[in-house]
């Protein structure tokens, strides 16, 4: 049986590798809190290649405008139809920013419009409990970006399951640090990443 491997999507446009420490941090949290068999290192998979179908959870982030190639757009549509979960996080934390406007437009073209995900969704109870919905990030609370605390994540669902999860909360900045630094935190802010992986593996 294959171990869970954290996969980052590499797309042709933009800066897909803007949060290089996120994979190691999420992997650390999975190993720390769960019994999930997890590969010690993440992988990078080109969004336009068949390799994405070997990783049913994909993480996609960036600051710059996102313009999918035809192959990437087609692959994203197939990926979601087949049961994959694409987690897209706006590293700008800015609903008027270049990433948000272009990424949501591309996602709409590939898989349909995003809709707010209810804050009592199973995602928020998959491992840790988040009774108020998605945890806020320090960037939201500091007023960076669009100066908003986003109450919901957005999603495209297929057959009652999340196919695309879209965040404007900038988890990419929130989780982009060396795992050893967790010891200085009173509450581990990557706990929601554990929920995301557990949800993907069980729902």
């Amino acid at each position: 049986m294959t171990d869970f491997t954290f996969a980052t999507a590499q797309y042709d446009s933009g800066d897909w590798d803007s949060a290089p420490l996120v994979p190691a941090n999420v992997i650390d949290s999975l190993a720390r809190y769960t019994t999930i068999d997890v590969a010690p290192q993440g992988v990078i998979v080109p969004l336009g290649s068949d390799a994405i179908f070997r990783h049913p959870l994909l993480y996609l982030t960036g600051h710059l405008p996102v313009r999918f190639t035809e192959a990437e757009r087609r692959n994203v549509a197939r990926y979601v139809e087949r049961g994959g979960l694409l987690f897209v996080d706006d590293h700008n934390h800015d609903v008027d920013g270049a990433f948000h406007r272009t990424a949501t437009e591309e996602l709409r073209a590939a898989v349909g419009p995003l809709a707010p995900l209810p804050n009592d969704h199973a995602l928020y109870r998959a491992f840790f409990r988040f009774d108020d919905g998605p945890p806020t990030t320090s960037h939201e609370l500091n007023g960076w970006g669009d100066n908003l605390v986003h109450p919901n994540l957005l999603a495209v669902q297929r057959g009652g399951r999340i196919g695309v999860l879209y965040s404007s909360k900038d988890y990419s900045s929130e989780w982009n640090y060396h795992p050893d630094s967790k010891r200085f935190m009173s509450v581990d802010n990557t706990r929601f990443a554990v929920n995301l992986v557990v949800y993907a593996l069980t729902h």
Binding site: R54, V198, T202
Partner: protein
């Protein structure tokens, strides 16, 4: 020398006499046979053609002089006509039949899947064309190649029928099955995720038990193993170890079990139920398959050292990929394929459906699904009309007069040629020796 010539002449005369007597004897025999065939009608069996049978049965039953009855059937008679003929035979009347009724049989089995459907199995002679129907019309038709055909249909309207020539076999109404839940036991993994998804998409009600952390087991739905509520258990990996004994009791009580290679390897109590042992992993390169991966491209842990009561359900090349056996009142299927989720994700546009159907059919093959019989309609069913006709009336036989004629006469042209030859030989012999 002289006496030798006289002896030859005497033998020649005797031969001529023999030819004349034989010709006259054949002529007399043919005349006698013709007279016998033309005997009174009362001694001949009453012959009825099958297409007039339904009309004539009542009249036949009320006939005062109940002589022998022979029925010429274009196909096996319908159940009611057959029963009537049997009643006549039981009343003391000699009843026989002839005809070209093809051996046809029909079986209908409900499929133990949420999508329902039935499998119609029809047997017929090789080369014949079978037409399958239900009460809504024709379902399909096919030429028989290897003794029969099998068709799965999503729904059946009333009874199924199969026709071959003028013979029609009719099924009973298929039973309705009571489907139970499926319990999936698996660690948080892509296999657990996509097997569960496939079964849910196929319509199964699935309860999932998955350990997430030390002391933390998540259950989605009730996983209490009881054949009153659960039809089958899918054990995907070592997470089944804590309930393995319960699973064993569940299977012996009639429940179904699917054991993967990982579960058989890590849980000895499940290995004891499995069809065989795990062989060495065969792992082809998945990258080679690109986006058109099939079940045949998956990693395989072949099933080896099969138990004597196990049956092979699927092979890949020479390796056993799927095998099953009975344990107590239940059934156990052992799956050698690993990481079947890759088939769904990388199997092209048809991978999702193929993966879903395969898992659903696999669960259905072992699931406990008690039948709820319909109201007794067996009297209206006629699943094997030829067999039933032979049972009721005996085997087909030629018409009695045909049989007698065949036994008493040589074919007329042969007889005529033989008589002419004998007389010609006798005449030639006489004329050649100078006699008149």
């Amino acid at each position: 020398m002289r006496s030798l010539t006289e002896r030859a002449l005497r033998a020649r005369r005797a031969l001529e006499l023999g030819c004349r007597v034989a010709a006259l004897a054949l002529l007399g025999w043919a005349l006698l046979a013709a007279l016998r065939t033309g005997d009174g009608a009362d001694a001949r069996p009453r012959a009825v053609r099958g297409d007039a049978l339904a009309r004539e049965l009542a009249a036949l039953t009320l006939e005062r002089e109940a002589g022998p009855l022979h029925v010429e059937l274009p196909g096996a008679p319908a159940a009611a006509e057959r029963a009537w003929l049997r009643a006549l035979a039981r009343s003391g009347r000699a009843v026989s039949w002839s005809g070209e009724a093809p051996p046809t049989a029909l079986g209908v089995d409900p499929v133990a899947e949420p999508t329902g459907g039935v499998v119609i199995s029809a047997a017929g002679p090789s080369g014949s064309v079978l037409r399958l129907l239900d009460e809504a019309g024709t379902i399909d038709s096919a030429r028989v190649r290897h003794g029969g055909i099998e068709v799965r249909v999503p729904a059946l309207e009333g009874r199924a029928r199969v026709t071959a020539g003028a013979t029609t076999a009719t099924s009973a109404l298929p039973d309705s099955l009571a489907l139970r839940d499926v319990v999936v036991l698996g660690r948080p993994s892509w296999e657990t995720r996509f097997v569960t998804a496939a079964l849910e998409e196929a319509g199964w009600r699935v309860a999932l038990r998955t350990p997430l952390a030390p002391g933390q087991v998540v259950q989605q739905g009730s996983v209490a193993l009881d054949t009153a509520r659960v039809g089958a258990v899918v054990a995907l990996d070592s997470s089944a170890s804590s309930v393995a004994e319960t699973v064993g009791r569940f299977v012996r009580a009639g429940g179904g079990l699917i054991v993967t290679a990982a579960a058989a390897r890590d849980v000895s109590a499940l290995a004891a139920l499995a069809a065989g042992a795990n062989g060495p992993l065969e792992a082809p390169s998945l990258a080679d398959a690109g986006d058109s991966l099939t079940r045949g491209d998956l990693p395989l842990v072949p099933i080896t050292a099969m138990r004597p009561d196990a049956v092979v359900l699927e092979r890949r090349d020479r390796s056993v990929a799927l095998a099953a056996r009975r344990v107590g009142a239940g059934r156990v299927a052992q799956v050698g394929y690993a990481d079947s989720w890759r088939w769904r994700l990388s199997g092209g546009d048809s991978g999702v459906v193929a993966h879903r159907r395969w898992w659903s059919a696999l669960v259905a093959s072992v699931a406990h699904a008690p039948a709820h019989p319909r109201a007794d309609t067996s009297a209206e069913a006629d699943p094997a009309p030829l067999a039933a006709t032979v049972d009721a009336l005996g085997a087909a036989r030629p018409r009695p007069e045909d049989a007698a004629r065949a036994a008493a006469t040589l074919p007329t042209p042969v007889l005529f040629a033989l008589i002419v030859l004998l007389l010609l030989a006798e005449w030639l012999s006489r004329r050649l020796r100078g006699a008149r």
